[in-house]
Symmetry: C2
Subunit: 222 residues, 2 copies
DNA sequence: AAAGCGAATGACAAAATTGTCACATTAGCA
DNA sequence: TGCTAATGTGACAATTTTGTCATTCGCTTT
């Protein structure tokens, strides 16, 4: 069930919407002001945020920026058509805009549309407890980010794109280094394997991810 | 029309296969030995390589490794079932194996299958003359590789994932730096924009890719 | 035209990456 | 078992990345 965060200081409206959206199969949480909303985005990790631009505490733009930074889609609620034109003109990165007053059905249809559009963007590769967001170029173990250097990332990607295959040392050296026309020591690969293991493996002394295939090369275990 | 490179020293077989594969809509080039094959992979950039393991000059494994390094799929031809078990056991990274003697129709069906499988892997983002292979984490202008540092790559990816949107400085700082909990100077972003422009723009004095939106932030022009 | 502001730039130091040693360890084999 | 070749390790120098100045540049508004 998708979780929606409603950022709105009119508590009567919050209650009405929460009720209605529940019947439509959404789970709602709410925040009355900018600081609460920012905290809630981090803590609740909602699938989508509905933001009223005109908040008593802070303003909706900052909430929008924060949500976008976390990859959470945003729909703006505006009090009037005038406000709406300002917002769309500035294009703060919201995924949609809807002007009050709106029909609840319309809101639901907009929500579904944004979720459909944004949920398709999962360009992720998962292997055991490791996760690579190829869209952003980030690597995680669980929800802990792992920082790989540019070359480490490229080497790891090559392994991921050839999961299970035994890759020869020559193949790996070619892929990561030879493409630039440089020739590096054979040991350089060994060292990079060590560095990858230190960052990626549970226990780098006992590698279960990148296995050595003696006399041939290495293999990323599925 | 797909181009196939046949690495085989039995010239009678080469001729027969070339004829047959032409009628099936493939363009064939051939190489008789390992050195010629390696050169042909670089020069001809075939869509697929057929390799006979038992060559008079050199061996098929090296050809396979070179092709895989260039991202070109490989089908091995083996003289006997025994050889085949050796090859599959070692898993040199070939995309398929076929034992002689084989029916031409079978070969064609295997070729089509491999091409279908491998051509689907294009996780590429293209913008003007720039191309990002998100699967490998590489950036090109034309066929010239551009080396981005890890942070530059992340920043560029964020722009690419939000093409056309005006992104505020705060949003960008959050996305690239705040996720690690660090706080960096506002000017750091400016400097990174400059560095990205130097690497990505035709003329960094006159940016057409990453535009400044005065008072707000930046925008990646579609 | 001058002032004021945000953005761009060049230069810089600290930190990280990168490639290579020399040496240690290990696996496979005689 | 002990030998040998292959792989792993810690340390290192060179280079690149990274973040921050101080300063300059160029719009906008007086």
């Amino acid at each position: 069930m998708e979780k929606l965060l409603m950022v709105e200081d009119d508590s009567a409206l919050v209650q009405r919407l929460t009720e209605y959206l529940s019947t439509e199969g959404f789970h709602c949480v709410s925040a009355g002001g900018q600081p609460q909303a920012v905290a809630a985005i981090d803590a609740e990790r909602p699938d989508l945020v509905l933001v009223d631009i005109t908040l008593a505490e802070g303003n909706g733009f900052a909430v929008c920026a924060h949500a976008r930074g976390k990859g959470v889609p945003v729909i703006f609620l505006t009090a009037s058509g005038d406000e709406l034109s300002t917002v769309t003109g500035l294009d703060m990165g919201a995924d949609d805009y809807i002007a009050k007053p709106f029909r609840p059905k319309e809101l639901v249809s907009r929500i579904r549309s944004v979720l459909r559009r944004t949920s398709g963007n999962h360009s992720e590769i998962v292997l055991r407890e490791l996760r690579v967001d190829t869209g952003k170029g980030l690597v995680f173990r669980g929800d802990q980010q792992i920082f790989l250097s540019a070359l480490e990332y490229r080497l790891f990607m090559f392994f991921l794109n050839h999961r299970g295959q035994i890759l020869t040392r020559e193949q790996l050296l070619d892929e990561i280094w030879d493409s630039a026309g440089e020739y590096v020591s054979d040991n350089t690969l060994t060292v990079y394997i060590k560095r990858l293991r230190e960052k990626l493996e549970e226990d780098s002394q006992d590698p279960r991810l990148i296995l050595t295939v003696r006399g041939i090369g290495y293999q990323l275990k599925e």
